[in-house]
Assembly symmetry: D2
Homo-oligomer: 249 residues x 4
């Protein structure tokens, strides 16, 4: 198989699924998530609607699990599979509690996913993104793109949020460092500060009674990412912030 693929890590009910649907319009997509429930119906939906998707149960913070996932990708798409896009959307659940009540394990949860996970994801996807550089410039071929999903906590560290914000600050540092190293090699690396509540099942009870424009649409984030992917080499954006119309900031 020679068509380049897109790999999305952290496929849940929100941003990850929306990003997968958007990129599936152009590429076969690989869906990585810990729980199969998070990608099974999505993969089926994409496969039924003319796209191509496979899901792989993966713990992004585990070297072993990530190695297995990328072996499966190569089994499926060939040893010389190339990636047109890779999106890291995984995030540890955060614990908001007084610092002195935080266990080391609770503190490290965010690191494991946001930093170690992003490190392993980058190490596995960059070798698939780099060979796609040579295709850039062919009509309708965008530069290969590596995108990281950040949050308000990527640039603002609040009280009782140190676990989450340390992970997100570090993720932003990783994205910038990779952008500077791999940009000149032809891979477009970008970071998105998602600054607001995303409208998903889990946040139904938040901002109740407010208009739809009080929340960020997962599809809107997907469009922003797709827009980043389409940018040419003479005009790359390395960081965006994303907010809904009614956000206070």
């Amino acid at each position: 198989m020679s068509a380049p693929i897109a790999i999305i890590a952290g496929v849940g009910p929100g941003t990850g699924a929306a990003v997968a649907r958007r990129f599936a319009k152009a590429y076969p997509v690989v869906l990585l998530a810990r729980k199969p429930a998070n990608f099974e119906s999505l993969a089926e939906e994409i496969n039924k609607s003319g796209g191509q998707a496979i899901g792989i149960s993966t713990d992004v913070s585990s070297e072993e699990s990530m190695k297995n996932a990328f072996n499966k990708i190569k089994e499926k798409f060939g040893q010389d599979v190339k990636a047109a896009a890779a999106v890291f959307n995984a995030s540890g659940s955060f614990t908001r509690k007084p610092f002195l009540e935080l266990s080391t394990e609770e503190f490290e949860v965010s690191y494991q996913v946001s930093v170690k996970g992003a490190f392993l994801f980058s190490r596995h996807t960059l070798p698939l993104l780099l060979p796609h550089v040579q295709s850039t410039g062919t009509p309708n071929v965008s530069p290969p793109t590596l995108i990281f999903t950040g949050a308000t906590a990527s640039i603002k560290s609040n009280a009782q949020m140190s676990s989450f914000s340390t992970g997100k600050f570090a993720l932003r540092a990783l994205s910038t460092s990779l952008a500077k190293e791999f940009g000149p090699q032809g891979v477009h690396v970008a970071h998105a500060v998602i600054d607001g509540v995303i409208d998903i099942e889990r946040t139904k009870g938040w901002l109740v009674g407010q208009p739809a424009e009080a929340k960020i649409g997962a599809d809107d984030i997907a469009e922003v990412y797709w827009g980043l992917h389409g940018q040419g080499r003479r005009g790359w954006v390395n960081e965006v912030d994303v907010r809904p119309m009614l956000e206070k900031w």
Copy 2:
């Protein structure tokens, strides 16, 4: 006339012209520049190729001149003309010299254009952008958008560059303040940090011998702005940075 227009200030041979061409594919465009030479052939080109453009000789830092420009816009497009987009791309020429050799006039040049000009432009365009809010959501109608062009100096202030950087820092503050005030009213305000050399006639002698990817393409900036304009209310980007692939940062 009822079609909404786009207004571009600071139409020169680079970004401004590219932005005008891009937005002219969708809207009648108004081109503001001090020297008619900067918009005459561009307006002709747009008008000949199926678009609609008028140029108005304007000093954005002059209250009188701006008032005249917007009177002409209303004469041409009607008293109730609406704007779908307004792009402020004007910038004072900067003087790089030892601080103690800088005259007050030289220091203030950047303020006059980057800050007072942007203030007057915002004051005149927001009343045309706001009435277009009610059309948002109609199929294919994007939220009205106000975009400001910044530079590396918007976030980094170097030695001997205080005139330019004070203006650009202030412009960024203006953009953020307007985004927070007019965003909830339906106007999408965004700021672009253009971090690199734009490939125009004037910069032909810069970065000589380097590949095309060492400079930013004016057309690429225009595509980024067009992408911002197309974003929906549940996923607005308020700031982007734009770089060419080979930029060191």
Copy 3:
């Protein structure tokens, strides 16, 4: 006269007066303020308690007024007077109102003081600070220091605050640019982000019922500035933020 002086612009009932008192323990101080009422009793107080102070009625945003002020300084302290420290603490009163109700004059008030005033102050004080560089290193002689007072609005631009924040963002850009140009020449330039309510007569009605630690003490700011002034050439701080213990940020 050969003792170096300290020059403080923006001497009012708060920070400026506290800074003047602190630096008057070491240097003759020059107090610049528009209204003589702002410096008269302060100068008297300093002169009576063993220090030396003169006040000069000055509009920092006026070239003419600033030229007169520095002529008076030279008449008083000699044509070859040197400055050990210069503190720019002036700030235009800010108008918080809807952007579209803001007149050009109201918008520009902040620029006139925070930017043009700071520019003129720097242009007049640097020629007095630079000759003091040669004395640095003599026992108990600190490097000459130029300090600018910023605010929360130096790094955060809120809705309806564009006049104030554009001025303060620009002032920060000026401070950084000067630090990079004059630091290597031996002048220590620093910027302070005062992030909180200063406890002065005018703010008596704010944060009522809260402990004293909810507000910043003007004397505490003066100590921070004095600390900056005392730093050696191998450990200069170029920016500090200052908050009271109970500040929420």
Copy 4:
């Protein structure tokens, strides 16, 4: 024993030792370092010159080792020992190499020290700092202070430096979060961006031929930290940057 102590982690030949010497003028100091060679002669020097110091061989990234260290502190100074100051100066050695050549272990080195180490240090020192809050305000008693040493990489993430910068970005997030949580409880938390080469044995070969002012003095950093410690509750600085006079930035 009732005198409050100061605890310094990361005592090496540079900043840590200088900070220890400075704080030892006022408090008994505890020196934490992995290698006894890093604190033995320093402890001896302090004890001989009228101060009081003990060194404890500690791996700050190990829960077990940190627990042992603080047990020893309590054995020595009493179960109800209080801390007037705690300074976290430990830093993993950084590996500058192409990202794809970086092993997981190499990548994580910085996290282990800069983030997990700082987390454990905070968790152990805050319970000793908090009881000292009640003494604040007694003549000559400064608020208890927790200081973290950052670097250029705390705010700038360069190519091939992702291990170091992710750790330092995260450390800054931790410091800010703690400042917001424990500031209102009376503990002054501050972060220092050390932006330049520190003049120590290991950097002798750097910037050769340049004046002494091209490097930061470890003693100068110690003075900055001492200055932070002395600040009153109505004027706390939460972040400083420190540079030598000749630094380019």
